[in-house]
């Protein structure tokens, strides 16, 4: 069922998107911290970045609606907690030992902004070494909220270029 038409169909940035130079360094820094914690399997520290209304979404197609379509991941805050508890258990076999990971994030743009929340999108490549080297790529979209003096992750959407599948086991933090 793999399909040529589903390749690389991640959401386009709306007109007026502000590219990298316009991304607040504090937001970029937050994004890179999130990436490093995920890469290094620092699960509880990664979990602490999330806000209470969290949405961690890896759809099978950018146009899919979670009310009618199944996603690879569609976690609310409670399920993120469960995911991290499973990873921390030491018995999540597909991440025991954790995959060796390094990801690159680039082409950052601010795509939306309201009073306390900024939506930043960018492209990524992840190199995962487990049994062999797997390359993942796609587009991230983050909703980052200023809360008190802190930044919190309200939503992270991951549009994989190969979301149309097949997709390898993906139990690391993508």
């Amino acid at each position: 069922m793999s399909d040529l038409t589903s390749l690389g169909a991640a959401a386009a940035a709306p007109a007026g998107a502000v590219p990298a130079a316009g991304v607040d360094p504090a937001l970029a820094s937050f994004i890179y911290t999130e990436a490093r914690l995920a890469d290094e399997a620092r699960y509880s520290e990664w979990e602490a970045l999330w806000d209470d209304d969290a949405k961690y979404w890896v759809p099978m197609h950018p146009d899919h609606d979670p009310k009618v379509n199944v996603s690879y991941i569609y976690d609310n805050r409670r399920r993120i907690r469960s995911r991290i508890a499973q990873l921390n258990s030491g018995n999540r076999h597909s991440q025991t030992p954790p995959s060796v990971l390094r990801r690159l994030i680039t082409n950052l743009e601010v795509v939306a902004q309201d009073a306390d929340t900024t939506t930043v999108a960018g492209n990524f490549v992840i190199y995962e070494y487990r049994f062999d080297l797997t390359v993942w790529a796609g587009r991230y979209e983050y909703r980052i909220r200023a809360r008190g003096g802190d930044l919190k992750l309200a939503a992270k959407t991951v549009h994989l270029v190969n979301a149309g599948g097949p997709v390898s086991t993906m139990s690391f933090l993508v």
Binding site: D3, T5, H61, D132, P166, T169
Partner: protein, 436 residues
Amino acid sequence: MTELDTSAPVGVGKVDVAALVEPDRVHGSVYTSQEVYDQEMDRIFRNGWVFVAHDSEVPEPGDYVTRRIAGEPWIVVRGKDGEVRVLANRCTHRGNRLCNADAGNSSSFRCPYHGWTFSNDGHLTGVPMRDGYGSSFHEVRDAMGLAPAAAVDSYGGFVFASLNPPAITLREHLGNSTVALDRLLALSPTGELNLRAGWMKHDMRCNWKMVMENNVDGYHALFTHASVYDAVKPAKVSHVPSKVEVYVRDLGNGHSEIDYAKEYSRLDEEFIWFGRIRREKLPNYVAAMEEARGAEDTHRAFVVGPPHTLIFPNLFLAEMNIMTVEPLGPGRAIAYTTPALIPGADEVNEKTLRRSEGAMGPAGFLIADDGEIGARNQLGLAAGSPEWVVLRRGEESDITDETGIVNHDKSAETPQRGWWKHWSQVLTGTTTAPDA
């Protein structure tokens, strides 16, 4: 080559499959040999009934989905006569793959190479610049429709095909497993399902039979899935066999299951299998069920829940999910999973979607670890010693009754023994009639 390329070298001459399967053990090469794999594709996937699609994926005339069976591309399409056909996805002219979408709706398929056009019932209807065929044109056109699967039939909306003429009917093939299909359909007020939420496609680095056998392995959960039960939530009922009346069953014809019905009935509690949700949370669904089926049958359906049943060779009724497996070689398979949604029951379906994501697919709390264990199984089997995989658990406590061969210990390897018995019969050509 990486360490996951574990396929054994192709041997000389034809492997004697009959020598690889005994009643309580199988030779490790059944998972690793390219020659065994080639025989499987021929005997099981090209000459027997396989699941291809569900009615709800092609509800309207012209609706189609594309599938692969034994590496071959096929189109499953509903014609304007309402009939579902399974047609080779290959232009009969020069072999171009004709339809290149996962799914869609079309009255015809036009080859982009030379413009040959086929109606969605397979007839060749258009050949550009026909004069080039001279007086033989009509003969060429009439003979060159899309190749159909030899047989297509369905049960409860599940569409099966046999690419070559099958030795038995679909009903004969399904045998006792129709009870499981009926058990799933009994949860729908209309008796229909919706399998249109999308298929998760999980690239598994293991033999396709491991994916299927594991689905009815009642022994592994306490260990493979310890992280879920320890860190996330306890199992719905105990996985310790002595504490529950959960049975495993060889249904015959390679079909098998883990059956929770007795345990759930003993507890007489609804929706143990659905996060123990209270029926008050699903008022519209409960009302529709009671109107369609009456209060007593509705209660019974809510208590016993959906099946956990494997239908040979490639369909797994994974409670409120449907899984089908596509072999890609001795050490590789794709597991396709979609939630079983109930038409009109939105309050159930959204929960089913979230439960499906939680358990199934490449990031699921359960199946990601099954995939990992499968890959390591494949790595372990690269060792030539011991030569055999042992399937003796519960051999002495199997009971034969009208439903098949049952074992009251869910950790018994009764389903696996049933799978291999049938597999061996199919590969050696010793089953031309139902063995149930």
